[in-house]
């Protein structure tokens, strides 16, 4: 057994006494468990909504519909559940890996309460339609600012802890924490840039293809740096601790860390394959995603091979079992990810249920399972006791695993079925299934299977909650235990150390290098496309939205239509037959934010304008089944009661004009009058077809105005 350098102490060394702040870890543990249950309950709810539309309610309660709850589910799962789990694990392990108490007890507590308040703010805004309409970044600007603030508090607390450490070299877990904290800050700030209209409404500063690129640079790297790197850090601490095994390969840690961090940041455009994003950027997104396979599996190898020789313990110890399963699912989803990024595979899989299936293999298989292992570890350590019931943990494990397998396989089946139906063209050059709804009805049984799979996962979580509660109850809390360690001094400097070993002692340099690693890809990808605002070919025929259409678009964003409908037609024969000509970048230059979506539970809407009469949309929004038999879309009856809010319209147009949207002075001055005039025209047509005469000032009219405009400008270009 080797001994650390610090034990070869010289007389001049200073022995210091300190204690860990475990209270803050316990708080984060409790928050993790509570928000995890909320996130899974929401997930299960929306899964049933997709299987049976009436679970959305009957059209009177806006805030329980899929379009509003789905963003709440994703935000709760990622930022509330995984966020608190990360903070618990990082604060516990960092103190121990650096032999010091956290930098500031006060900052820790501001961090904790600030984060919980942000979550509460999310729960109080998203269901009520306050959203920026960008996936995983829906929260409105005041909350975005709060997130940035609390993240800075976290960063100061963490880097402050690095500063006061008593261990010279930082362990691989700490590397991953550093990369996480730096990158999430960069991603969040640049993606959230927006101009406010009022306290709870803002528009993204980016438009169309630029917004899409920035959003998916963010969106993909939220997966990378919120759901992957911090959890790899946790894996590197908790797996060897729980197994009493040395980590498999230090040199693999080095190469997989740096390659993962450097390569991941480039991969975002694989969410935009076949769109109007410049093709070089798409290709970059694809090849970097393919190159991510090995770096990701480096982490898996280091996790699984660390368990070499103790697999018998994996069978009996719930902590190891959950963690080993998590690492296995990590390996599976990081193989599936590069596969899905290959253009020809993506052509089949994109917009289908394969994507939610893939995502949940990651979030349930990797994040939930690893967190469950970490939670059992932490609760037994922090409450100084043994696990209450291994049997319950075993039950939890099997329920979660079976639920997840049901989820993944049902989504594969749904995706292959639906994708094949979308693409089927017969020998006369026609779509075999021209009615989109036929392809939906076919896969609804799979939605039921997924919903029950999700229910299993939810129940497994409740079992864990109970098990953890009972464990904590029989244990006891002992805070302030005195520990001793030598202050950092020259004795720990390793002469003749290799360069990376030296770097592990230089935390500032390490952090700067991590920042550079993520900035290279970010800048090379983002800057040319952002600058290209000036040279996306502009067509005079593509005009800004009218004032009424702006209001309609805001309703579209508010209701979360993008969670089920895309607005971008790929250059593929079957899509052109079904939806119209491929979407072009210049068609979206006034779209703040872009609304391309990422999933087609319903059909693409980019060229829906003019496809149906106004009355069709009127009926459809009242009850989709009146015009589309078998539709699973919720009713939107409140749009027929709520009046159009013209109050903020002048300000909205002003913000758009600030972005360079060319509104005429007349439009800016008489926006409301123009909107009312357009509403009147639409209303007259609707009334003629049998709508009540007081429909004119209702939101449905604004929404129809927007829908009827979609994709029509380019239709006029010869």
């Amino acid at each position: 057994m080797s001994s650390t350098h610090s034990q070869n102490s010289s007389l001049t060394r200073r022995l210091e006494t300190f204690s860990y702040d475990d209270q803050i870890v316990r708080w984060f543990v409790i928050a993790t468990v509570i928000w995890g249950a909320v996130a899974l309950l929401l997930g299960t709810t929306i899964a049933f909504q997709l299987a049976y539309w009436k679970v959305n309610g009957l059209g009177d309660l806006p805030w329980i519909t899929f379009g509003r709850l789905r963003p709440l589910h994703t935000n709760a799962a990622i930022f509330a559940f995984c966020g608190n789990a990360i903070f618990a694990g990082i604060y516990y392990s960092t103190q121990r890996l650096l032999k010091t108490r956290l930098f500031s007890d006060a900052l820790s507590r501001i961090h904790f309460w600030g984060w919980q308040l942000i979550i509460v703010a999310a729960a109080l805004t998203l269901p009520f339609g306050f959203t920026q309409g960008k996936e995983y970044a829906e929260l409105e600007w005041p909350i975005d600012i709060a997130i940035a603030g609390i993240w800075v508090v976290f960063a100061i607390n963490f880097f402050g802890t690095l500063k006061v450490r008593r261990e010279r070299h930082i362990y691989v877990a700490i590397w991953f924490y550093i990369a996480t904290i730096i990158t999430v800050a960069v991603l969040h700030i640049f993606n959230s840039l927006s101009l406010p209209v009022d306290f709870l409404k803002s528009y993204s500063v980016y438009a169309g293809v630029q917004d899409a690129l920035v959003q998916w640079w963010y969106g993909h790297n939220a997966v990378a740096f919120f759901l992957t790197t911090p959890f790899l850090g946790l894996m590197y601490y908790f797996v060897p601790k729980a197994a009493n095994r040395p980590v498999y390969s230090y040199r693999l840690s080095i190469i997989h860390f740096w390659s993962l961090v450097f390569i991941y940041i480039w991969a975002g455009p694989h969410h935009l394959l076949y769109t109007s994003l410049p093709e070089w950027a798409q290709t970059v997104g694809m090849v970097f995603s393919v190159s991510l396979w090995a770096p990701s599996w480096g982490g898996m190898i280091n996790g699984l091979l660390t368990l070499r020789g103790v697999w018998n313990k994996v069978r009996t110890d719930p902590v190891l079992k959950l963690m080993a399963t998590a690492v296995t699912f990590y390996g599976m989803s990081t193989f599936e990810g590069p596969l899905l990024s290959i253009k020809s595979v993506n052509a089949i899989a994109h917009y289908t249920d394969w994507i939610p299936g893939h995502v949940h293999a990651g979030t349930i298989g990797w994040n939930y399972m690893l967190t469950a292992g970490v939670l059992y570890f932490l609760v037994t350590k922090l409450w100084r006791t043994e696990i209450y019931s291994k049997k319950l943990a075993e039950t939890q494990f099997w329920l979660a695993t079976i639920g997840l397998v049901l989820y993944i396989t049902s989504m594969w089946a749904a995706a292959f079925t639906q994708s094949a139906m979308w693409r089927a063209i017969d020998e006369t050059g026609k779509l075999v299934y021209p009615n989109f709804i036929e392809t939906v009805v076919k896969i609804v049984p799979m939605y039921w299977v997924r919903a029950f799979g999700g229910t299993f996962v939810f129940i497994s979580f409740i079992i864990m909650m109970y098990n953890l509660y009972m464990t904590a109850k029989k244990g006891s809390v002992v805070d302030g235990e005195k520990l001793e360690a030598y202050a950092l001094d020259e004795s720990s400097i390793e002469k003749n150390a290799k360069p990376h070993r030296k770097l592990e002692g230089l935390t500032l340099v390490f952090s700067v290098l991590s920042l550079l690693a993520i900035l290279v890809g970010s800048m090379i990808e983002l800057i040319p496309t952002i600058m290209s605002y000036n040279y996306v070919i502009q067509k005079a025929e593509v005009k800004p939205y009218t004032p009424l259409e702006i209001l309609g678009r805001d309703i579209y964003v508010r209701e979360g239509c993008y969670t089920c409908h895309s607005q971008t037609i790929r250059p593929m024969a079957h899509e052109v037959l079904r939806y119209g000509k491929p979407s072009e970048a210049f068609e979206f230059i006034y779209d703040h934010p872009f609304q391309w979506g990422s999933k087609r539970t319903g059909p693409d809407l980019h060229r829906v304008g003019g496809k149906y009469p106004d009355m069709w949309h009127y009926r459809h929004m009242w009850d989709p089944r009146e015009v589309v038999q078998g539709s699973i879309m919720p009713r939107y009856k409140w749009l027929f009661n709520s009046k159009i809010n013209y109050n903020t319209l002048p300000k909205k147009l002003e913000v758009m004009a600030t972005f360079g949207v060319p509104y005429s002075p007349e439009e800016l001055q008489n926006g409301v009058a123009l909107a009312e005039a357009q509403a009147k025209t639409i209303t007259e047509g609707l009334v003629k077809s049998g709508a009540p005469s007081d429909v004119g000032n209702k939101e449905i009219v604004a929404l129809i105005a927007y829908l009827q405009r979609l994709g029509t400008d380019y239709g006029r270009i010869k």
Partner: protein
């Protein structure tokens, strides 16, 4: 009081015989590290993917590899050729084919086609809703005869919201649904107000269609 920098209180580290020589002199909170070589297959995958990426990027960006739009144009021109051929074949209204389809139970099948595709706008029994009432004598784009209804269904009237049904339903189904629509004529069911022009001399109801007409429920 636990001594943080001693291993005495820690559970015994499990190290296999064949890896003892790989154990590094690192200890973080009792965590040790081995220094195994990178597995060969892993290195192969790692470098292989990078090499593939370089060649792939160069081929598609610099050496004239087909763009996605090129591939789309190629794919779509094949579809257009198929469609042109179909158009040639389907041609205009074929009275003989119509009579044959009507004789073959076309009205009954046509009703199924109607329920599946048309009631969303024309309502059950064609009383009209989003689309016009088909049971009165007023017609917008046709004279109410099978010949004049055929192009309305086949090509659609996009400006009025009537979709193009060619390609959505088969030509046979178009004939069937037209024969069903003929049975609705002049039933004058209460529904949407009249639209278009009155066509007085409505000899639309063909004999075959009349005899096959289902009883009004």
């Amino acid at each position: 009081m636990s001594d943080n920098h001693s291993n005495t209180n820690e559970p015994k580290l499990h190290v296999e015989e064949d890896e003892k020589h790989l154990l590094l002199d690192h200890n973080y909170d009792g965590i040790h590290e081995l220094d195994h070589n990178l597995p060969n297959w892993w290195q192969f995958t790692f470098y292989g993917a990078i090499v593939f990426s370089v060649f792939y990027f160069i081929f598609y960006q610099f050496l004239g590899g087909p763009t996605l739009r090129d591939e789309f144009k190629k794919e779509y021109s094949k579809i257009e050729a198929l469609q042109a051929e179909m158009k040639k074949k389907s041609g205009g209204f074929d009275p003989e084919l119509y009579a044959k389809i009507v004789a073959d139970g076309g009205v009954k099948k046509g009703e199924e086609v109607f329920v599946a595709n048309c009631v969303a706008c024309h309502k059950e029994q064609g009383i009209g809703d989003i689309g016009p009432n088909l049971t009165d004598k007023y017609w917008i784009n046709s004279k109410g005869t099978p010949e004049t209804n055929y192009p309305v269904v086949f090509n659609g009237v996009p400006e009025n919201g009537m979709p193009t049904w060619a390609g959505v339903i088969s030509t046979e189904e178009i004939y069937q649904v037209i024969s069903y629509v003929q049975t609705l004529h002049n039933k004058n069911l209460p529904g949407k107000e009249p639209q278009g022009e009155a066509v007085e001399d409505n000899a639309a109801t063909t004999e075959g269609a009349a005899t096959d007409a289902p009883q009004a429920q």
